[in-house]
Each structure stands twice: as C-alpha cells, then as structure tokens.
Amino acid sequence: MRSPISRRHFLKTSFFAAGTAIAGTGTAKAAGTFDTETEPLVTLIDISRCIGCEECVYACKEANAHKFADPKKPFPKMYPDRVPVEDWSGRQDVTDRLTPYNWLYIQYAGATTKEGEEITLTIPRRCMHCQNPPCVKLCPWGAAKQEKNGLSRIDSQICLGGSKCNKVCPWDIPQRQTGTGLYLDLLPAFAGNGVMYKCDRCYQKIEKGEQPACIEACPEDVQTIGKRSDIIKRAKDLAKEMDGHIYGLDENGGTNTVYVSPVPFDQLVYDTGRGRPHMHPVKDTMADGSNLAIAMAIAPIAGAAAAIGKYYRQMKEEA
C-alpha cells in the first residue's frame, strides 16, 4: 500500500532544503558503534527532508518481520463479551496507520508556509521512546522495558495484551494483536487479550552497532541518530537555520525522538485516531508520581517524629 503522493515537488521548491541538506548528514550514517553507556540515543527527524516514499516503512517491516505475531485461529472465546478481538493478522499490508504489523507509518499533514503556499508534509510516525516512558513504567507485569540507550520495547513473551500501555501512552502508540502470547497459557477466557506491539528501534541492530532499519533505508537522510546532547544541539541548530519548530524536547517530559518542522506543529492539519497519533503539546504524564515520591520520603520521618513527640509529652506528664 505505497502512497502515490510524492513530495519531491515541495522539496524542490522549499526555501530551506539546501540548508538542511548540509545540516542533516553526519552523525546518522557515520555513527557505526553507538556509545550507549553515557547518554541515551536520540533520533532527529527532519520533516522538511521527508518525501513520503515509505522506504522506512517497508524497511521496518522487513527488519522486524521475525517479531510479528502468528496467531492461531480460532481465538479462544473471551469473557465478558465487551472484550474486543483485535486481529490484524489478515491485514498485515496496511501501512497508513500503526498496527501490530506496522510499527512506522507516514502521516500526511497539510500546512501553509509563511509565504502562504499550501503544502503537504509527510511525517514518519512511530513510538517516541519517551525519556520516562509510561508504557514501561506503568506496565503491571513488567512486560515492557527501557534500556540504557533510551529505547523502550515490549517483551512479547511476557505481555498479556491488557493494552494499559496504549491507554497511558500520550500518543496511543502500542497496538494489540489478539490470539498470541502468554495469556493463551494462563486464563485466555478471563485475563489478557494478546500482545502489544510497537517500534523497538531495531534493538537487535543497535546492539550490533548498526542503524535502525528505517534510518538505514531512508534515501533522503531524514533521520539522524546519536547521543542525546549531540542530537539536541543539532535539532536546535537545524530549527534555527530553517526558522523551524521542534517537537519532542519537552513533550511528556522529553522524548528520545525529536521532530524539526518548518511549520509550527499546532498549524499542521492531519488525520488522528486509532493508530494515527497527534502532534499536540503533551504534559509530563509521570510528573505527579515523581512529585509524590518526595512526599513518600517525608511521610515516614513525619510519622516517626509524631510518635517521638507523643512519647516525650507522656514522659513529661509522668515526671
């Protein structure tokens, strides 16, 4: 399902293409072995360079095909009836949204340039790999994990498919496939509903010091991956150069995916819905918990102080 829409025309006429072409090449293709001990890896996505060719989409599918579900049918009956069966196994070629078999898709966004020209931007969309990912931190079974290099991924051997990760993700990224995974060996009728899938940033390739498939396959060098400090600097420089805008620096407390766009993100017009994430500002969803952690540190001290105070008052009265 390759998109028939091409953005080459826009690129040819865009007012920043030349500058970003120079800025975009560098760390990404030359990265080789990653230093993942000192800093997380961050991906910079330069929207102005993307032509919507979907090479990244198909490269992702190919590199991760061995991780996709192969559910056995018929699926076990689940109770109560409201539990949804989510089966994408017969629609594995869908590429216009995120699915358990499509972890990266191209989102089309209408925009108007400062010059008043109406353009269509194409934006590679996938997991943002949050710095403090709620999908990982709030998974009740520890099925999702975050690695030191900043990527987050879901262990398909452990995931029960409860879809909590989808509900707590500000972008609703993880997608469920019913009829596969550990729940089948437990209580398939009463608990669980498959496995959740999302971009794992080609961890198997990163481990070998290789680029994620989507970055490797891109003919336009849209994506750059590298150490957080380097990529953040590069994103800011790029935004300054094109008088552009950055998404991902502060969203959900900061993500390890940073988009740079020539058009403000709040002016982009695109389809959202299931499997089609937005690009709105996102507050830090884990901040309330982190603030309450301080209260938890203080509470036992306050409790102990109250008991000691009470004891001394009683001792004084007895004396």
């Binding site: 009740p140 409860g162 409790g303 004891y311």
Partner: protein
Amino acid sequence: MNYHFKSRRMVYGLTLFFIALSGFAQMPIFKRYYIADIPGLGWLAQFYVTHVIHYALAALLMGFCAYVAFDYFLHRRNSGPKKSQITENTKMTISAWVKAGALSGLIVTGIFMVVKNLSGIYFYHGVVIGLDLLHLVFAMVLLGATAYTWVRGRSWIF
C-alpha cells in the same frame, strides 16, 4: 478500646482498603469486568488517577506505619515504672507478625518500584518483574491475614 486506638484503626482500615483498590486498579481489570461502569467508580479505570491515589495513600501508610512502629517500641521498651505491665500487654500476635512482615515487604518493594518509575532510572528487567510479582504476593498475604483476623476477631496485640 479508647478513642485514640479506634481512630488509628479507622485510618489504617480506610487506607488499606483504598490502597488495595487503587493497587489492583493498576491492572486493566476494572473496566473489563464492568466495575468501573458502576456510578462513582469510573476513576478505577483511569490509570493516572489510580496511580496518583496509590502513591498518595502509600505516603500516608508509610507515615502511619512509622508512627505506630515508633509508638509501639518506645512504649514497650521505655515505659519506666510500668515497663513490665506494658510489655505483657503489648506482645504481638502471630497474625500481627504476618501482617507486619507483609506490610514491610510491601513498603520495601514499593519503594523500589517508586524509584524505578523516576526518570533516568534503569532496573534490570528481571528485577522489575520480580518486584511487580513480590508486591502483588505481599498484598495478597496482607489482605488474607487481615481478612482472617477480622473474621476471627483477632487483634494486633494480646
């Protein structure tokens, strides 16, 4: 049973009930089984709400446990002329030791889980799974022991 003791029991009971409820709500079960559809219980299906409630009640429970533990040991060990009498009257029952052990386990695993949830903290995956399961096991032990002592009318102390 004096007023002070009754208030302590009520605070502990309410905290335990709601912290257990918000704890189980971390699993996606209340919506599936229509419990969140009951008027007034919709919040049980809102994961960030139950997360914050669970944390806030955990702070309250830890403060309460610290207060009771210090109160207990200070009075038991340093009671002046009444020491022998108080010591005899404040021996913990077996079920109390079970509950205290489960509470301690919950608090310790809970602390690690809170730390794990902070930004920039990475735990080994097996440790995270172990903490999740241990926390659940300690909760079940505590709830089981609490139900048993409630039905049998057993107290924390003789």
